[in-house]
């Protein structure tokens, strides 16, 4: 096999024995198959580096997506040995099984080509879950004073660093079983909004997640929390939404009667 000439300053070149067997999904839409490539193993090597190596050195037609390469943009998630992961921050050594890797496009989303998934449904649901701030003040007014210890703020902060990578969405079987289901990331965003003291109409947030496709579909599988690369906890956020909506269900009907 062809070895890329190790560059001048590359101290990480390895002997020929260190070869990774990498099978990569090739295809568009629902059709395709896994194709196997041999990639030299390196010291600091991420799964994205492996994919890149294949595209740059073996098969120029391989399609995938990445942008920031440091775990900030959430563009590079794929299925690695059956588990959803951000590939730019996943060290190969942590995931290989007997020197083998299987890399596929993210689950629960349509595949555009090879390893690139169409993320539109994920974002459509983000918006459908009401995941957008409605202006509370204008740009001419001062910024709201909010204590960092405010309980709502503390709660919102727990979920705010989501990079919308869709790893949780790919891990969730409820998304697979109920394609309309808004999914963990969108619901977690709704929960941060619900807790944001700048949001005026909290009931609107609850209403958006209480429809047929909403938070009540979640079966607490916990795969979302298990796999979130940023160690966020959508499971608890969704539980929070369920609790808040249940409360509003009981109270609202009382108020209506009065």
């Amino acid at each position: 096999m062809y070895f890329h000439n190790p560059l001048k300053n590359d101290r990480c070149a390895v002997s020929e024995e260190d070869i990774l067997e990498v099978s990569v999904w090739r295809g568009t839409g629902d059709t395709g198959e896994y194709e196997t490539f041999q990639v030299p193993a390196r010291e600091s090597q991420t799964v994205l580096d492996v994919v890149t190596w294949i595209q740059q050195q073996i098969d120029p037609s391989l399609s995938y997506r990445y942008a920031c390469r440091v775990g900030m943009c959430g563009s590079c998630a794929m299925m690695v040995n059956g588990e959803p992961r951000w590939t730019c921050r996943t060290h190969v050594k942590k995931v290989t099984r007997d020197g083998a890797l299987q890399i596929g496009p993210l689950r629960n989303l349509p595949t555009i080509k090879d390893l690139a998934a169409d993320m539109d449904p994920f974002f459509d649901k983000w918006i459908a879950a009401g995941g957008v701030h409605t202006p509370s003040r204008s740009r001419a007014e001062p910024i709201a004073e909010v204590s960092p210890e405010d309980p709502g703020r503390v709660e919102a902060n727990k979920g705010i660093e989501c990079i919308n990578c869709s790893v949780c969405y790919a891990a969730c079987d409820t998304v697979a079983n109920t394609p309309d289901y808004l999914g963990p990331a969108a619901l977690q965003r709704a929960w941060t909004l619900y807790n944001d003291s700048k949001v005026e109409d909290r009931q609107a947030v609850l209403d958006a997640v209480s429809k047929n496709n909403g938070c009540h579909n979640c079966h607490t599988q916990g795969s979302c929390t298990q796999y979130c690369p940023n160690e966020l906890d959508p499971l608890s956020a969704i539980a929070g939404l369920k609790r808040a909506s249940a409360k509003s269900f009981l109270f609202k009907s009382k108020e209506d009667r009065q």
């Binding site: 409820t174 079983n177 209480s210 047929n212 909403g214 009540h216 249940a246 269900f249």
Partner: protein
């Protein structure tokens, strides 16, 4: 699954918790204490309390399990729309009917 169904399922589950504990407790106690089924039945027959106890359970379980089945059928068999509603109601009503007969048998005869 929306908020209404969710509340119905969770509230009915909450109703069932003490009832199931009670029922299991009686069963364990009965078997351990050497009580025969006949003796139990003798106690329940004609008892309004037992009627209400099992009656509540049957109502709650028909709501709860009908919604539960709806979810499973929807997720696994991908049923939706009217068909899904029909499955849920049919299942709920059958359980309610069967349950009502059993409660009658246990408490009224």
């Amino acid at each position: 699954m929306n908020l209404g169904l969710y509340m119905a399922q969770r509230l009915s589950a909450m109703v069932m918790v003490p009832l199931v504990f009670g029922h299991l407790g009686v069963m364990i106690y009965a078997i351990q204490g050497g009580l025969t089924t006949a003796e139990i039945l003798e106690r329940t027959m004609g008892s309004l309390w037992w009627f209400l106890f099992y009656g509540c359970f049957v109502v709650a379980v028909s709501i709860h399990s009908a919604i539960g089945m709806r979810v499973i059928v929807h997720e696994v068999l991908k049923l939706r729309g009217l068909a899904l509603e029909l499955v849920m109601w049919a299942f709920g009503i059958s359980i309610l009917f069967l349950g009502a007969r059993a409660v009658m048998a246990v408490t009224m005869l």
